[in-house]
């Protein structure tokens, strides 16, 4: 436990002592902020139109602002996750510091968990930027906080799975760019798999759609926890970390 914390703290420090963390935070804040003001602007204009035409629709902040924005955040995350995980092991392999970690009295799994938690923590910081925008809604409106909280839980679970896969890919190479590109490719695949269910309902399409990380987010975005979605994410996390552990083991055999 202590070792996990030691590694995690070291990783967080190196994220924040290099420009990478600040760059990611700034980019995420800018892009998400753009989405947010678009959504709010649209909402306001729509509301005004409704009043003018005398329509009696109900306007709901949760449905019309928060949910689409959470969906956006879930996709946006796919672009940021490779940049978070690509250095985790590739960098250590390139500089040879992996030799220090692997010959210290810590278990492989502690190293892996430490790094994964650090990546998750950085992603949580990104999400915090988006949460600031939502705080604005609470100041001027009266949205329901529960679906929002569940949405964030979903975002974290989804990121946890992808970060675990990214960590795994990072153990495969000593080149950060390759690790990043491969992770990015995988993230995109897991996103677009969802599209096949749009035109085909054969078994293979169902399977592919099931594998898509984004389809499993839909219910979280609505504020509903389906156990099958949660189980899916937890399985991805477990598999990702498991593969990382195996890869580290074989790293010793191959290197």
């Amino acid at each position: 436990m202590r070792n996990i914390w030691i590694i995690c703290r070291k990783e967080l420090k190196s994220y924040f002592s290099s420009p990478i963390a600040y760059l990611l935070l700034t980019m995420f804040a800018l892009i998400f902020g753009f989405f947010f003001w678009n959504a709010v602007g649209f909402f306001v204009v729509e509301g005004a139109e409704m009043q003018m035409t005398g329509q009696m629709g109900t306007m709901n902040i949760n449905d019309q602002i928060i949910r689409p924005l959470l969906d956006n955040a879930s996709v946006l995350g796919l672009f940021f996750i490779p940049m978070i995980t690509m250095r985790l092991f590739a960098e250590e392999k390139r500089t040879g510091t992996i030799e220090l970690l692997a010959t210290s009295p810590v278990r492989d799994i502690e190293i892996i968990l430490g790094k994964w938690f650090a990546a998750l923590a950085l992603y949580a910081c990104l999400l915090l930027c988006s949460a600031l925008n939502f705080a604005f809604l609470f100041r001027y409106g009266n949205p329901d906080w529960k679906p929002l909280a569940i949405g964030y839980l979903g975002l974290l679970l989804q990121a946890g799975g992808l970060l675990a896969l990214g960590t795994f890919i990072s153990t495969l190479t000593r080149n950060q760019i390759i690790a990043g590109a491969a992770t990015f490719g995988l993230c995109l695949m897991l996103w677009v798999f969802a599209w096949v269910s749009g035109y085909d309902s054969a078994t293979w399409a169902t399977v592919l759609a099931y594998l898509s990380v984004v389809t499993h987010f839909n219910f979280f975005g609505e504020g509903v926890i389906h156990s099958k979605d949660a189980v899916f994410y937890l399985t991805v996390i477990f598999l990702g970390l498991f593969f990382t552990a195996r890869s580290m083991e074989s790293l010793r055999w191959r290197s």
């Binding site: 002592s17 040879g96 030799e99 220090l100 010959t103 009295p105």
Partner: protein, 374 residues
């Protein structure tokens, strides 16, 4: 002959079945350790053992398999076959215990460029299980010992090569491990720091068991008690340093600079004269100037010719500007150990088996073989 064979046989059995006390006093035991890469066998069935408190030099040319062996001892690489035990723990089965007992300086110091020296040492200390006051004390201590106190607040990425090496060494001794495994610890250091590092290593011996690798022969002579020479993944010899020196010196190469007294010098005549000195195998002219010339004289096996050479020069009325024994290069020792003199190799290998496990005996025989003027 039969008696000798019997004795050898006994020794072999003894080695295979270490007695309890023997086993405990061995900090590192390596049996038939082999490591294969895709196309190469980097380490090929090597066996040796290191007693507690010894400093052992691991000597070999580039690509001999020193780093690979050390990586196996530190549990970084698993062996393809064979076993290795450090501090009584198997590197495969009880890897975590082994790692608790070792300090390791890899070939390239494992530094995080974005960390400051002190911060890095604290991180490593925590990783090795130090905490609280103990951690602070050890970090301060190693900073002093390895002379990195003045770069405590500097980013590791901005340190010079020598300082990186020092921080790497500081990192290795941080948790006061029983066994230190140092891969070329003095690479890249300045002469002063090399000396200090050697002193440090000598100081650490006794309580600590140290294996250090190098391809610099004098380094081994100055720091180590025992030496394991490997070449192409095989142990060529395990011996005490004294023995090795004796063996290296049973033939010498001497460099002389001879000057004519007031008159120009005829190098060919000097060469002829030197050639006639008893015990000299051959003399080469290395370079010549107006008034002086440099010669290289090689002695026959078992002959010491320095004194006779000097006398010959002086008596012939020339000046002797310089006379020094040429340090025997590692390659020459290899040639001697492995090459044409198979007898020497065999003689070298026999005591080698017991050299590490019976240091006392080795030392005595080594002292006998040692040259008086050294």
């Amino acid at each position: 002959m039969q008696a000798v064979n019997a004795a050898r046989h006994l020794r072999a059995v003894d080695n295979l079945l270490p007695t309890q006390s023997n086993f405990l006093s061995q900090m590192i035991t390596v049996q038939d350790l082999t490591r294969k890469y895709a196309h190469t066998t980097a380490v090929d069935h090597i066996s040796f053992s290191v007693a507690k408190g010894q400093i052992v030099g691991f000597l070999g040319p580039n690509g001999a398999g020193k780093t690979t062996t050390m990586r196996m001892l530190t549990c970084f690489l698993p062996p393809t076959s064979g076993t290795a035990a450090v501090a009584g723990f198997d590197v495969l089965e009880q890897s975590l215990e082994v790692r608790k007992h070792i300090g390791y300086l890899p070939e390239t110091p494992p530094l995080y460029p974005e960390m400051e020296t002190a911060e890095y040492l604290r991180f490593v200390g925590r990783l090795k299980g130090l905490k609280g006051v103990e951690l602070d004390k050890r970090v301060d201590y190693v900073c002093g010992r390895c002379a990195v106190a003045d770069v405590k607040k500097k980013l590791l990425g901005k340190l010079s090569k020598g300082y990186r090496q020092r921080v790497g060494l500081a990192q290795a001794i941080l948790h006061n491990p029983d066994v230190l495994i140092l891969d070329e610890p003095t690479a890249g250091l300045d002469p002063k720091q090399i000396n200090e590092t050697r002193d440090l290593i000598k100081d650490l011996a006794g309580e600590h068991t140290i294996i250090l690798s190098t391809h610099i022969l004098p380094e081994v002579e100055q720091t180590c008690e025992h030496v394991i020479i490997i070449n192409k993944g095989r142990v060529v010899a395990t011996d005490s340093v004294a023995n090795l020196q004796g063996r290296a010196r049973d033939r010498e190469t001497v460099v002389l600079e001879v000057a004519g007294r007031g008159a120009p010098l005829d190098p060919a005549r000097v060469q002829q004269r030197l050639q006639r000195v008893a015990g000299v195998a051959q003399v080469r002219i290395k370079n010549q100037r107006n008034a002086s010339a440099v010669f290289e004289a090689e002695s026959r096996r078992g002959e010491m010719v320095r004194g006779d050479l000097a006398r010959a020069v002086i008596e012939s009325g020339w000046d002797l500007n310089e006379l020094r024994p040429e340090a025997m290069s590692l390659e020459e020792i290899f040639l001697q150990l492995t090459g044409s003199d198979s007898a020497a190799a065999a003689a070298g290998k026999q005591p080698s088996e017991e050299a590490a496990s019976a240091p006392q005996a080795a030392k005595e025989s080594g002292a006998a073989a040692k040259e008086p003027q050294r």
